[in-house]
């Protein structure tokens, strides 16, 4: 497969998810197409790393995350960078609205990890590669986030075993 076909295939495979990733973030949604382009240009600049990555998808998401963070820093130099991930606008459904508020209330790192799982359906290992953290930390963050959401939306339940 030549370089042209390879690029075409990679773009078709990964671009929709990456574009959605940027569009999910209100602060970046307007520049999503440019950020997508930046992501690919940056990824292809180090082609060897891309070709040898365990998960090309995770590698691209990792780059997209950094591209997004850089863009946010340009917009808000003193802004909180962990606000990278955000959820779409609220829905009329009451439970959905509560969930929206609950997710927005999560600690930024937990929210980012959770949304990578829920929006992009990345595996724990892929999320670990994207965020450059151990898999155990990903699991821990996800568990804390889910338990927090459950706590907000449901009364606590005790087990009897």
């Amino acid at each position: 497969m030549d370089d042209h076909d390879s690029l075409e295939q990679l773009y078709c495979e990964a671009a929709p998810a990456l574009l959605a990733y940027f569009r999910h973030q209100p602060a970046l949604a307007g520049a999503a197409e440019d950020l997508l382009q930046d992501t690919f240009v940056r990824a292809l600049k180090h082609r060897y790393r891309l070709d040898t990555a365990v998960s090309r998808r995770a590698y691209l998401f990792g780059i997209a995350r950094h591209v997004g963070l850089d863009a946010l820093r340009r917009v808000k130099p003193d802004g909180e960078t962990a606000e990278l991930q955000s959820i779409p606008e609220a829905r009329p459904d009451e439970r959905l609205e509560s969930m929206h508020v609950a997710i927005a209330g999560l600690p930024p790192l937990h929210r980012e990890t959770l949304l990578l799982k829920l929006q992009q359906d990345l595996s724990y290992e892929e999320i670990a590669e994207v965020l450059d953290i151990p898999v155990g930390t990903v699991r821990s963050r996800l568990h804390h986030a889910i338990l927090r959401l459950r706590q907000v939306l449901n009364p606590p339940i005790t087990y009897e075993n």
Binding site: Q37, L114, H143, I146, L149
Partner: protein, 179 residues
């Protein structure tokens, strides 16, 4: 099963992160334990609701920007990289040329007399080295200069009346003539 362990497994189950074997074992456990099953349902519905809340408004189905933009950016980037490599190569060649010119003509473009002087200096250095060798117990020409001490210097000269005879490399050479 500990509450924390069960809870962790149920969250992994709701997120679809369990291996098939573990998932099967957990399903069997949930069939036998209604409380755990109820908790599993709550967690599953929580995750499902969170997934719905997190889903974007048809973000994944919106049209992709043309690949040409990426190609164009890459082409520009490659040209810049090539120009940078070219400038580095030119700088190296210029540096090499400069060093070559300096070493060839360095300070005296004529070159000739300079070379002769260097040769004389080299010979003098060799004589001095011979003298040092003599001090260390090795043979040297300086050792056979009549009327000179073993600390011979570069000014040592052999008289043309004498002839050096050296029959074997393992034997000491000696001078023949009117000593």
């Amino acid at each position: 099963m500990k509450t924390e362990t069960l809870e962790a497994l149920l969250i992994d189950r709701a997120l679809g992160a369990l291996s098939p074997e573990v998932a099967e074992l957990l399903e069997n456990y949930l069939i036998q334990n209604s409380d755990a099953a109820q908790q599993a349902n709550i967690l599953a519905s929580t995750v499902q609701l969170a997934r719905t809340a997190a889903a974007g408004p048809n973000a994944s189905t919106s049209p992709l920007p043309p690949l040409e933009r990426v190609r164009k950016a890459l082409t520009v980037q490659r040209r810049q990289a090539f120009a940078w490599q070219l400038s580095k190569l030119a700088a190296c060649m210029l540096l090499g040329l400069t060093i070559g010119l300096v070493s060839r003509f360095g300070g005296n473009p004529a070159g000739g007399p300079n070379a002769s002087a260097a040769m004389v200096r080299s010979l003098a250095t060799n004589d001095a080295a011979n003298a040092v060798g003599n001090r260390n117990g090795f043979w040297s020409l300086a050792n056979f200069t009549p009327g000179k001490s073993e600390h011979a210097t570069a000014s040592v000269r052999l008289d043309s009346r004498y002839r050096l005879r050296w029959d074997s490399p393992v034997k000491m050479p000696h001078l023949e003539g009117n000593l």
